[in-house]
C-alpha cells in the first residue's frame, strides 16, 4: 500500500500531461503566428508595390491650338475637325512642351522632337478628344494636362534612374534631366489617377494609359451571371437532395459525383465551357456570358455541398413540429427549414462567388485573356445578354505580368488591390446578409 498522496505535490504523471498540453498550445500558437505573418507579408508587399499604380505622372503643358491646322474649314464643325488625326496633335504637344520649358528658362539641349520621350502616346489622343468636344478652344492658348510617358512616370516613382536610362536606351538621360527640372518647376507631378480604374487596357507602348475599366465590368457581369444562375440552382438542388430525394443508389452516386466535381481543377471547366458554350452553343468567345456560365458550372458543387450541410444542421425537431401541425413537406421546408439554413447557404454562396471572382485558368481557355479596348455592353441586339467581349480582373493581372515594360508589373499589383477590395465588398455583403437572416434559438 502506498502512502496517501498530498494534493500539494504534483506527481510526475500529471506534470507530464501538463507539459504535453503546453507543447500542444505552443504548436497551435506557432501555426497562427506563421500564417498571420505570411498574410501580413503578402498584404504589405501588394500594397507597397501596388498603391503607386493609383497615381500617375502628368505634365502641365502650355500650348497653342492653331486654328489653321486644327480646323482648316474654320466652321468649327465637329465632323470636319475629326478629319485631323492624332498624328497632327502629337507635334503640337511636343512644341508646346519645348516652349513651356523654354519659357521656364530650362536648359535642355533637346529638340522639340525629342520631347516625345516625355509625353505619352495617349496624350495626343486625349488632346484631340478634348478639342473635338470643346471646339471653342481652337485658336486659344491652353494649359493642357498631358499624361507623361511610362519612363518618366517610372523616374518619378524611382523605378527609372539616370544610370538605368544610360544602359537600356529606352529614354535619354537628358530627357530625365528635363523631367527633374520640370518637376521642380511644378510642371510635372504625380496625381491621383481615376483612369486606372475606369480606362480600358492599353497597348504595350503606353502602360501609363492602361486601366481596369473593362476588366472590372467583365468581372461584375460574370458575377451577376454566376449569382443569378448558381444561387437558385444550387439551393434548389441541395434542397431536393437533402429534403425530398429518397436515399438510394442513384442519390449516392449523385452525391459522390458532386463531391468529386468540387475538387476538379478549374481549368477542366474551361475546356468544358469552350466545347459546350463556344463551339457547340455558339456564344461569343471572351464574353462575360460564357465566362459566367463556366464559373457557374465550377461554383455549383461548391455551393451545393455547404448548402446541404446547412440544411442538415437544422434540427429534425423543427421538421417534426411543422409536419405535426399539418404542414406539407414543401411548407415545412420553405417556412421553417430554409430560413434557418439560409445563413449557412449564403456563406457557401459567397465563398463560391469569391472563388469564382478570383478564378483565372478557365477564363484563359474561353478567350477572356484577349486585349479588349471597348467596354462590353450588358445587352445589345447583336450580342445578346452579356455577350460582348471583355476581360476579367484576375486575367488582367495575368496579362499584365506577361508584358515587358516594368510599368505593367506595378499595374498588375494595383489590379490585385482592386480585386481584394472587390472581394472585401462581397464578403461584407455576405456578413450583413447573414446577420439579417440569423435567428436566435
Amino acid at each position: 500500500m502506498t502512502a496517501p498522496k498530498s494534493l500539494l505535490t504534483i506527481d510526475p504523471h500529471t506534470r507530464k500531461r501538463h507539459a504535453a498540453e503546453r507543447r500542444f498550445r505552443r504548436y497551435g500558437l506557432a501555426g497562427i503566428v506563421i500564417s498571420v505573418a505570411a498574410l501580413a507579408l503578402l498584404l504589405v508587399s501588394i500594397l507597397h508595390n501596388g498603391t503607386s499604380a493609383f497615381r500617375q505622372s502628368y505634365l502641365t503643358i502650355t500650348l497653342e491650338l492653331p486654328a489653321e491646322i486644327l480646323d482648316p474649314t474654320g466652321a468649327r464643325d465637329r465632323d470636319a475637325m475629326a478629319r485631323v488625326t492624332t498624328l497632327t496633335y502629337g507635334p503640337l504637344l511636343e512644341q508646346g512642351l519645348a516652349d513651356t520649358a523654354g519659357d521656364l528658362g530650362l536648359e535642355t539641349g533637346l529638340s522639340p522632337r525629342d520631347m516625345r520621350q516625355l509625353i505619352s502616346r495617349q496624350a495626343a489622343a486625349d488632346l484631340r478628344y478634348m478639342v473635338l468636344d470643346r471646339p471653342e478652344l481652337v485658336g486659344t492658348t491652353i494649359e493642357f494636362r498631358a499624361l507623361a510617358s511610362g519612363r518618366i512616370d517610372g523616374f518619378l516613382k524611382g523605378r527609372v534612374s539616370r544610370d538605368s536610362a544610360e544602359r537600356d536606351g529606352n529614354i535619354s538621360p537628358e530627357a530625365l534631366d528635363l523631367a527633374a527640372q520640370l518637376a521642380k518647376a511644378g510642371r510635372l507631378g504625380l496625381r491621383w489617377n481615376w483612369a486606372f480604374i475606369t480606362a480600358p487596357d492599353a497597348s504595350d507602348q503606353r502602360p501609363e494609359a492602361a486601366g481596369l475599366g473593362v476588366a472590372i465590368l467583365g468581372s461584375v457581369y460574370m458575377m451577376l451571371v454566376v449569382l443569378v444562375l448558381a444561387l437558385p440552382l444550387g439551393t434548389m438542388a441541395s434542397i431536393y437532395l437533402e429534403e425530398f430525394a429518397r436515399k438510394n443508389r442513384l442519390t449516392d452516386l449523385i452525391e459522390v459525383n458532386i463531391s468529386n466535381l468540387a475538387a476538379v481543377p478549374s481549368i477542366v471547366y474551361g475546356i468544358l465551357g469552350l466545347a459546350i458554350f463556344i463551339n457547340f452553343a455558339g456564344f461569343n468567345q471572351s464574353s462575360p456570358l460564357v465566362g459566367g456560365l463556366v464559373l457557374t458550372l465550377m461554383t455549383l458543387p461548391r455551393i451545393i455541398i455547404p448548402a446541404r450541410a446547412a440544411l442538415k444542421s437544422v434540427p429534425p425537431s423543427i421538421r417534426d413540429a411543422a409536419l405535426g401541425v399539418g404542414a406539407s413537406k414543401m411548407q415545412s421546408v420553405l417556412h421553417h427549414v430554409l430560413p434557418l439554413a439560409m445563413p449557412g447557404i449564403l456563406t457557401g454562396v459567397i465563398i463560391g462567388l469569391a472563388q469564382a471572382l478570383g478564378e483565372t485558368a478557365p477564363l484563359l481557355l474561353i478567350g477572356m485573356v484577349a486585349f479588349v479596348r471597348d467596354y462590353p455592353a450588358a445587352w445589345t441586339p447583336d450580342s445578346g445578354l452579356f455577350g460582348e467581349a471583355s476581360t476579367a480582373l484576375p486575367v488582367q493581372v495575368y496579362n499584365w505580368t506577361q508584358r515587358a515594360d516594368p510599368a505593367f508589373a506595378e499595374r498588375a499589383m494595383g489590379t490585385i488591390i482592386v480585386l481584394l477590395a472587390l472581394l472585401l465588398v462581397v464578403n461584407a455583403a455576405a456578413i450583413i446578409l447573414r446577420r439579417r437572416f440569423e435567428r436566435r434559438w
Binding site: 405535426g324 401541425v325 406539407s328 436566435r440 434559438w441
Partner: protein, 253 residues
C-alpha cells in the same frame, strides 16, 4: 366498435429488416386519455407515430395492418397525411417551438389550414389555444417575443397550444414531460386532464406514476408487442400478464 375513436388491427412496422411493431391491436376511446407505457425501445413511440403517419417521413419504415380514425382507414391511398395531421395533432418529447414569435408559433397551423378569415379571427384563435394550454397569463404581454425564449415547461405548453390551435380531434403526446421539472410536469398533467374533455389524448410516457395519474386506459408494450391493454387501475393493481407485473414492479425495463 363504433364507440372507438381509433382502432388498430394487426399493425406491423418494419424499419428495414428490423421488425419494430408486431401485430398490435388496440382500441382508443374518444374523450379519454390512453397511456402507452413500456421500457425504452419497446415500440410505443413508433406506434404513436403511426397514428398520424409521421413515420411516412422515414424512408425505410414500412407500416402494414389497418388503423382507422372514425372508421376510416388512415393508410388508405386516398388519404392525404397532411389532412390527417390536421385532425391528429402531436406534441413531441423535446419542446420544439419554431424560432418565431409566440403568436406566430400558435398561428402557424391555423394559417396554413386557412382557419382564420382575418387578423382579429387569428388573434382570437391564438388566445383561445394559449388559454386552453394554460399559458395565456404568462405570455399575453409578450406575444411578439420568440417562443424559444420561454422556459422548458412554458415551451412545452406553447407546443401544446400550437397543436390544439388547429382544432384536432386526437392529440398524440410523445413523452411530453420527459424534459420538464416536476412543477412543469404537474402543470402539463393538469392540462392533459383538462384537454380530455374535448379530445382523445394518447400519451407515451416512461413514468408509470404519470400514466396512473393522467390516464383512464393503459397499454403496456414490450419488445414491439402489445402485452396488455386495459383500464389503468386494473393494469396497475391487478395485471394479467406476468411481464406487465414485473415491469410495473420494476423488475424489467
Amino acid at each position: 366498435m363504433t364507440d372507438f375513436k381509433i382502432t388498430a388491427r394487426n399493425v406491423q412496422v418494419h424499419y428495414g429488416t428490423n421488425h419494430a411493431i408486431k401485430d398490435v391491436n388496440v382500441d382508443i376511446a374518444d374523450k379519454t386519455v390512453t397511456a402507452f407505457i413500456g421500457p425504452s425501445g419497446c415500440g410505443k413511440s413508433t406506434f404513436l407515430r403511426c397514428i398520424n403517419r409521421m413515420n411516412d417521413t422515414i424512408d425505410v419504415c414500412k407500416v402494414s395492418g389497418t388503423i382507422t380514425l372514425d372508421g376510416e382507414d388512415i393508410y388508405d391511398p386516398r388519404v392525404d397525411p397532411v389532412q390527417l395531421r390536421a385532425k391528429v395533432g402531436m406534441v413531441f418529447q423535446k419542446p420544439n417551438p419554431f424560432p418565431k414569435s409566440i403568436h406566430d408559433n400558435v398561428a402557424y397551423g391555423p394559417r396554413i389550414h386557412g382557419l382564420a378569415r382575418n387578423r382579429a379571427d387569428m388573434d382570437e384563435i391564438v388566445e383561445r389555444a394559449l388559454r386552453r394550454a394554460a399559458i395565456w397569463d404568462e405570455v399575453k404581454d409578450r406575444l411578439s417575443e420568440p417562443g424559444t425564449g420561454l422556459s422548458g415547461g412554458q415551451q412545452q405548453r406553447l407546443c401544446i397550444a400550437r397543436a390544439i390551435a388547429t382544432e384536432p380531434e386526437v392529440l398524440l403526446m410523445d413523452e411530453p414531460c420527459s424534459a420538464l421539472d416536476p412543477i412543469a410536469t404537474a402543470q402539463v398533467e393538469e392540462l392533459i386532464d383538462e384537454l380530455r374533455r374535448s379530445y382523445s389524448v394518447v400519451i407515451v410516457t416512461h413514468s408509470m406514476q404519470q400514466a396512473a395519474r393522467v390516464s383512464q386506459n393503459t397499454a403496456f408494450f414490450h419488445l414491439g408487442s402489445l402485452v396488455e391493454f386495459g383500464e389503468t387501475g386494473q393494469i396497475f393493481t391487478n395485471p394479467v400478464d406476468p411481464r406487465t407485473e414485473s415491469y410495473i414492479s420494476g423488475r424489467i425495463g
